[in-house]
Symmetry: D2
Subunit: 243 residues, 4 copies
């Protein structure tokens, strides 16, 4: 079986400017995730904003990526529009896309959602409890019915997103908020998962339940096998026309 080719894209900014973040993620969040997600069926690489002039996302990298993870926060605007658009096109052609934490406002995610995806937020690093409300979904298999994040940034309703295909997790925050923090979407042939844990100075990417969810989502989002109009296997966007 072919391995799933995963690219973990990271803004990789706070690690350079905030000592707490650097201490939490000494090699960067992307490398922390890459190590935690390591598995026989995955071929993982990382890319980041300042890696090269294309943010590490050359056509070669994009075209050889089956599932992309995306973490961005402070520098969404620094992502080139043409690169964001290429990511969108790859998703429409079948690449899975896992939007982590503050990627709710990342250019590719908002373009795919058709709207900015604003929410309430509060930087109190308060206790959060993630509740699994869809225990039969592939992404929740082997994940407890609830698990705690000792501290996370509060992200809360109203979360301005289109109706998700499936709502998987609702998170409780100590300060009185709730959040539809795990949602799936489809755009074109691409499967999309948004998952809220992962503020830069919180240890969520060291949490085994968070990693389990992300690991499941990668397998779920991997491109399927489309039989095109000529009967051939394909992973390309369907083409309209006089057919």
């Amino acid at each position: 079986m072919n391995k799933i080719r995963v690219t973990i894209w990271h803004e990789f900014f706070h690690e350079h400017t905030n000592d707490d973040v650097a201490a939490m993620y000494p090699d960067g969040m992307h490398e922390c995730l890459a190590a935690a997600l390591q598995a026989d069926d995955l071929e993982i690489r990382t890319a980041w904003l300042m890696q090269d002039e294309d943010h590490g996302l050359s056509d070669d990298v994009l075209n050889s990526t089956d599932v992309m993870l995306w973490w961005g926060h402070a520098l969404h605007d620094n992502v080139r529009d043409d690169i964001a658009e290429k990511v969108v096109q790859r998703v429409l052609n079948g690449m899975g896309f896992i939007a982590l934490h503050s990627a709710h406002m990342a250019k590719p995610f908002c373009k795919l959602m058709g709207q900015p995806c604003k929410l309430r937020w509060r930087c109190a690093n308060e206790k959060a409890i993630v509740w699994n409300v869809h225990p039969t979904h592939p992404i929740t298999q082997g994940v407890p019915l609830h698990f705690e994040l000792e501290r996370e940034e509060m992200y809360g309703e109203v979360f301005q997103i289109p109706q998700p295909d499936d709502l998987l997790f609702i998170t409780w925050f100590a300060g009185g908020n709730v959040f539809r923090g795990g949602c799936t979407f489809t755009r074109g042939l691409g499967k999309i998962f948004y998952f809220h844990p992962g503020h830069e100075d919180c240890p969520s990417f060291h949490n085994p339940n968070v990693i389990k969810v992300i690991a499941n989502s990668i397998r779920w989002a991997a491109p399927g096998t489309l039989i095109d109009l000529e009967g051939n296997k394909s992973q390309k966007m369907l083409v309209g026309g006089d057919v």
Copy 2:
């Protein structure tokens, strides 16, 4: 315009056995609701378990009800199966059905859902905050984006329901739980709304936001105008056949 004919059905048990409940709802929850919901476009009556041998739900009452509210808790099993089945048939033929609080386990609701609708619960009468996650739905118009219940019974996930048509409210509980506490469903021609506030010894039916939600839901659940196969207006269940 014809008025919407509303029947508020109540178990009407706790008011007789618990002084706190009797003090909170001296005429019974059903009469409290009837008074609070009074409006020019509604024709409201009440019915209750021990009203007569049919629980107040004769064929005449059922056939002249457009929207039924249902509150039951301790005595679900005392509802006759044939009456529960008649309620189900009326919903399939277009009667709206508003299941309040512990009606998640009422016979008509569970039959319509196709499963028992269990949940976590905790009688701590703790603080709850109801979050509106669907601000464009008719049931949430004029309702704040969040409002507080000073104390309510905790109902929490995993709420074992089929996927709702629309998720309108998620409630936060002080003890660490979340709950999809406002959900819509359709069965046959009947529109169904489940809403969680209303524990017998809590003042939720005196809360104007709770009343506003229920009032909106009555208008939303009122039967529509179906054009049947012969071109006539109808509110009867569609009939299969060789057509």
Copy 3:
């Protein structure tokens, strides 16, 4: 009660270049629709691509529109990007949007959907039957369970759209195709309805059932009453932040 302010936007091109279209819609499709939709609770105006340098969509017009109908086909690319973006922003802030026929590829619709919304098509002006698969939805009230279009352009699956909130109509085409031709979506505070009839040289906008569906959709898509964070009525996009 305030009237719903409707703007019918039309490309208004084929009427000038094709005699059949001009004969079918002598004053243009927009005026045909405006006349057919006339009602006491609606305040209808029209706008078109070449009306002025803003395509008839000045800020004043946009800001005083509650529901916009959009018909475009051959000249999608001639719509200025900044005007398309203003329409998108108005939808996110609550303006209803009814995308008619070939507006499935219009700039505002595709931006809101997050993807180009391609489909199969065939210009055979073949017989079509529109099947109502959601008889309880406000948009289908008073509409027969099926009705015929004597001839329409075939639009068929796979229709590349995000999962609709609700699927209302599926159309059968004589040539062997099916189409999810009536779908609702929500983006921000805006309600969106796509409806497929209305090819320029077909008489669909003279069909009373088509008009009934569009008329219903206008009432359905009209903005609601949002209570904002300060307790005031509002129709503005929710604002994220530390709240």
Copy 4:
């Protein structure tokens, strides 16, 4: 890896009373399906209405079934209520359920749906075309975007079902009808798929695309791994309570 234990349940009546059916399915539809679905990861057995006093569905059989296929038509009423109820309970506890063709009116399916699932029908054995409208779903992988059934019983809208979780296939019938003929649902922990081909005197279970869809649906419907409240793997229904 453990095999998926599949039980194909069949009414097995028409084969005894209709020569055409007997010729089409000499060993019965159940054995035709069992042979066609044979695979290394499946352990397949069959059961039928008159097999024994429990319709072949003893507690042992039920408790060792991961996914059940169900075909019934003329003798729905002959299925004992207590057996139908046991099947429902197994689904709620995680058993997958694939309802084939006329099983839309089978006792277990209707109980799970919460309503009788009537539809239009016409025994004309007309040409049908199955359109795949959800090309990213696991059940549609490797299935063409459309395929033909040379003749099938017409099943058409309005199909009286609850909103499906996902709509996968829409079928076109030569006589002018459309049908949401491939739909998924969840009840309790059980995944459910309804698929319309398979009239007794039509060759649909000899069609490789039909078999491919059913084969995919078995893998999709197989029970997952639930982590229960004590952290143990479980496939039992969640239990409500003071937790």
